[in-house]
Symmetry: C2
Subunit: 308 residues, 2 copies
């Protein structure tokens, strides 16, 4: 019989029409997803999609199953909502750690949903440098951290993807800051950069320069993404930051966004210790985050971020 997990994977295939990407989205290997497809087809006795080395094309039967999968998963989400009200409301204190940047993007919606379901639950929010946020899970009694998604997944940590922020490269708008006459629109090499002191964004930027074989000229190092925008606005150099940080900055109009299409995304996730996955509170929060994660992307698109 059909497993909703498999149905969800098939939906990713329908969206992307690309097995490899769908596998990434589903957090399984392409081989697993390939086998899921054959399993579904054997179970349903129908060809769901034509597949060859060119890619994937969903069949008519596949579209029928897609609808079924969508309905089922929507119903399941609704069921979870209904069931949430049957759960004994959680009590105690929930400790969340996140960066200032993240806090005002995710926390409002997360907490307002949480208050509805579990009014008794006290929430303690700590903000700080996200660079080594994951360490807090082990030592500081923190239940969850909202952190940049680490490149290689830690064995002990379970996470829910919250959002993928596009990165943007920014330069000062004021023509009075010519940055020594460098033509920074065409080359990266040796451009003076304002960089975060450390953390995931820092290494992402270093990697980006490496793949472009450009020398990274670190002009100044700053703690906190927001401050970076200010520095750039004042002509201290160029920078790469999540675009959302630019949009929300009071200096937004003092920088220009350069056209760099190959910048990676800056993925943010809600993380907790895998060893605690069984605890009702951990599971409840995790499910909640999983359910509302898609709405963050919507919020991002509509620039509706903290009007709660």
């Amino acid at each position: 019989m059909i497993d909703l997990k498999d149905a969800a994977q098939f939906l990713r295939v329908c969206e992307t029409e690309n097995l490899t990407r769908a596998a990434l989205l589903s957090k399984v290997s392409p081989s697993t997803l390939s086998r899921t497809l054959t399993k579904l087809e054997k179970e349903l006795n129908v060809k769901l999609c034509y597949r060859d080395q060119k890619g994937i094309v969903i069949t008519k039967a596949g579209r029928l199953f897609e609808r079924f999968a969508q309905d089922s998963l929507r119903n399941f989400a609704l069921l979870q909502q209904s069931l949430a009200q049957e759960i004994a409301p959680l009590k105690g204190t929930l400790k969340i750690y996140c960066s200032v940047s993240a806090s005002y993007i995710f926390i409002p919606r997360l907490l307002s949903e949480l208050r509805l379901l579990h009014p008794e639950l006290e929430i303690s929010l700590e903000t700080g440098d996200p660079a080594n946020a994951l360490d807090f899970l082990n030592h500081d009694g923190i239940d969850f951290v909202i952190a940049p998604k680490p490149k290689e997944l830690n064995e002990n940590i379970e996470l829910v993807d919250l959002i993928a922020f596009p990165l943007a490269m920014i330069a000062p708008r004021n023509p009075a800051y010519p940055l020594n006459g460098l033509d920074y629109t065409n080359t990266l090499d040796n451009i003076p950069m304002v960089l975060p002191e450390r953390g995931k964004l820092r290494t992402d930027i270093e990697d980006y320069f490496k793949t472009h074989k450009a020398k990274l000229n670190v002009l100044s190092q700053v703690a906190g993404h927001e401050a970076i925008v200010s520095m750039v606005a004042l002509g201290f150099g160029l920078a790469i930051v999540p675009r959302i940080i630019v949009d929300l900055s009071p200096f937004k109009n003092d920088v220009i966004i350069l056209d760099k299409k190959d910048l990676p995304d800056f993925d943010v996730a809600l993380c907790h210790l895998k060893s605690r996955s069984g605890e009702p509170c951990i599971k409840a929060i995790n499910d909640l985050a999983f359910n509302i994660a898609p709405s963050f992307a919507q919020d991002l698109r509509s620039r509706k971020l903290n009007n709660f």
Copy 2:
């Protein structure tokens, strides 16, 4: 994530409120079903039913999940119907073997559904003694048999339950046949019985007398369930037959149905060789039977049996 197989098992639990019986219906062991319940509860993070040595009581959350399970499985059945139309219609010849009794109960609906889906498929129907019908699968080129469900499941045979016929004990109505003055309403011992020559019904009756420690007095042996009713009507003895046979018999008004509540059911199933489960045609017919099996029970209740 939820597997529809588990959801179906939970539905059986909701129907019976009894783990052991639900396990039987689902064809799994009670231990498996028990673990399915805990798995579902862990997955959904809710208590679905209270369970102790007295039995099972479904919770409010359980009822919510029951509705979800029903919806999902209904949608799945609808999906399968839709997909069936996408399948390349089957060709060739399908050979079915069944008893005369069974043929006019199941075959009409089965074949009319089949014709709709696969007009090209030729159907060859053979009728005969169901006693050793299963042997036909091995030797006689028969694809399916409709047969009494064997007590211990054969390793090589896969089956779909079609219906459970209640058995009924019947006696002649005509007071001119006092059967030697025996008070057969209170005791079974030594009552003159009309029995089928052999087959599942025969052994079921023998078992029934054994558990009641009553001597089985075989007055006459008859081939064919229908004829048994005639014999009883004519005063040759008492008999135990599927109640449906009585209801459909032209001698229906010449026998009376005795009040025996502990008679077992007479289960009928559609069987095929497990080794052929992978063949598209076998799978299609099997799925079709699985989907329409519940309607047989409805037909039985409403006595609507062969108006097709």
